[in-house]
């Protein structure tokens, strides 16, 4: 039986008394790419924030590889092998790419002796980063910033990658170039990916399973092939 990377049961969460997630349960299997789609405001990003310990749920619990972490904080989740690529450009504009990578390695507690190897691994997956690694992130294009943001997450050698709308502001071709090597890591490293995406066509091409969210609840779960255009229109 395939082990379970993330198991969330009965999650509810909100902001200032407004409930955004309502009793949501989710299972992400090891080595799986699970795509989550839905309207803006459906609760997708909130769910990712809850899963990465950035937002406290009002109910429910989450297990990572079968364990309930004692302190459900981003640092504890990072140590357990979970990394988040947040929505928007997850980079600090005034820091260079090298400084951003340095922060990621520091946060992951990677000793100096192992840092070169980690960076080489990331550059193998996203080789174009070599071209601009000494530049300030704020001077990079949207696609380059997204590459850095994903590269930063990969430096921690995550077993689970949470990706929040990486295609925002990117041309479809650019998104393809970005997501395909990441998706390939499922094969090479057995990494699980939870991908929140609006670019349905490209996201479905790399996903094993799809969840559709509306008003804080899942209203569909199945294979990408089950969601043809008509069905998508009906669900949206």
């Amino acid at each position: 039986m395939t082990p379970i990377a993330i198991e969330a049961l009965g999650l509810s969460a909100g902001y200032g008394g407004r409930e955004v997630l309502q009793d949501v349960s989710l299972t992400l299997r090891a080595g799986e790419i699970l795509c989550m789609i839905g309207h803006n405001g459906a609760g997708k990003s909130t769910l990712l924030r809850v899963l990465f310990g950035l937002h406290r749920p009002s109910a429910g619990n989450v297990r990572i590889f079968g364990d309930t972490l004692p302190g459900f904080t981003p640092a504890a989740l990072g140590a357990a092998g979970v990394a988040l690529v947040p929505e928007g450009r997850g980079v600090f504009p005034d820091l260079t790419v090298e400084e951003i990578f340095g922060l990621a390695l520091w946060s992951a507690g990677v000793p100096k002796s192992g840092q070169r190897e980690r960076i080489d691994e990331v550059l193998e997956v996203l080789p174009r980063i070599k071209e601009f690694r000494t530049r300030r992130a704020g001077t990079l294009s949207g696609g380059q910033q997204q590459m850095v943001s994903i590269g930063r997450a990969l430096l921690t050698r995550p077993k689970v990658l949470l990706l929040d709308e990486p295609s925002i502001g990117l041309a479809p071709k650019l998104f393809q170039d970005l997501i395909r090597p990441i998706a390939a890591l499922r094969e090479s490293r057995g990494m699980s990916i939870l991908l929140v995406e609006q670019n349905v066509r490209e996201a479905f091409a790399v996903s094993d399973r799809v969840l559709v969210m509306r008003s804080g609840k899942f209203i569909f779960e199945g294979a990408p092939a089950e969601l043809d255009h008509a069905r998508l229109m009906e669900l949206f």
Partner: protein, 288 residues
């Protein structure tokens, strides 16, 4: 020669302003907390040093002053600002709380150490004639050297260490820092510890030169605030340079105005910047 004498004195005062202003700018830049009690940190450090000096323990006194500054800064972060921020308190709430603490510290110092000026008597502040009619005390060189060394060390820390880069990241986006798995609270504490520590050498050197009184914190705070705005909010080198500039302006102004008006010169410079270059020396102009 009077101008040169005032200029050199201004450089000494400015070096101390630069240190204090850089500490305030570091805290404000990294955490966006308007730490009005930074002047109280300065006063506490100065009086702790004075106490040890009078007990014949100058070096332990210097260490105790730094420790007291750091403990006070960390205490403010942990027990005053963090609870206010946790309850989403406004900028004004933070300011009033800090102002209140600064007033309490000023009164406590007055009660414990007595009111009026107090200074340490040291040969380091005895002036010698270095040029005809130009007098300099060894403390001048010490003040300049301490300011340069500490500023270079702080700059190196911010650019060459992960913790320093983390502080710069904290200034840009604390939420994103959490997504990186880093604790913004810990980095905020580091900013307060370092920024407060920067005030201690300036306080010690002030005790050895112009002396301290219980209200010294307010003056220092106003200068730090002015230097932060003149230098460009968020720019450490800007705050340090502006601190130096304000010290020189105050001193050189003595050629034209009485001592009691010299402080006003700093604020004239501040107003001039607010009107003609509101983004400060190194700040980036905001466009609508």
């Amino acid at each position: 020669m009077l101008f040169l004498q005032l200029l050199l004195q201004g450089l000494q005062t400015g070096a101390l302003y630069a240190l204090t202003a850089a500490g305030f700018a570091l805290i404000f830049g990294a955490t966006r907390i308007f730490h009005f009690a930074h002047g109280a940190t300065f006063a506490i450090a100065g009086y702790v040093f004075l106490y040890f000096w009078n007990a014949g323990q100058p070096w332990p006194g210097a260490l105790a002053a730094i420790a007291a500054a750091v403990v006070f800064g960390l205490g403010m972060e942990r027990f005053v600002y963090r609870p206010i921020q946790r309850h989403e308190g406004s900028f004004f709430t933070v300011f009033v709380a800090a102002f209140g603490v600064a007033v309490v510290v000023q009164n406590l110092i007055g009660m414990i150490a007595g009111r009026g000026f107090a200074s340490v008597d040291t040969p380091l502040s005895m002036a010698n004639e270095v040029l005809p009619d130009v007098f300099l005390a060894p403390i001048f060189w010490i003040a300049i050297a301490v300011a340069i060394v500490l500023f270079v060390a702080l700059s190196a820390f911010l650019t060459r260490t992960h913790a320093g880069v983390g502080l710069r990241a904290l200034a840009q986006n604390p939420d994103l820092l959490r997504a990186y798995g880093l604790s913004s609270n810990r980095l905020s504490m580091l900013a307060f510890a370092l920024g407060s520590a920067m005030a201690a050498p300036a306080a010690i050197l002030t005790a050895m030169t112009t002396g301290l009184n219980e209200a010294v914190g307010h003056h220092v705070m106003l200068i730090s605030m002015a230097a932060t705005i003149v230098g460009g909010v968020g720019s450490l080198r800007g705050a340090a340079l502006a601190g130096l500039m304000l010290g020189v302006a105050e001193s050189v102004a003595l050629q034209f105005v009485d001592t009691q008006w010299a402080e006003g010169v700093s604020f004239l410079v501040l107003f001039a910047f607010i009107i003609f270059r509101p983004s400060g020396i190194f700040g980036v102009a905001q466009t609508r």
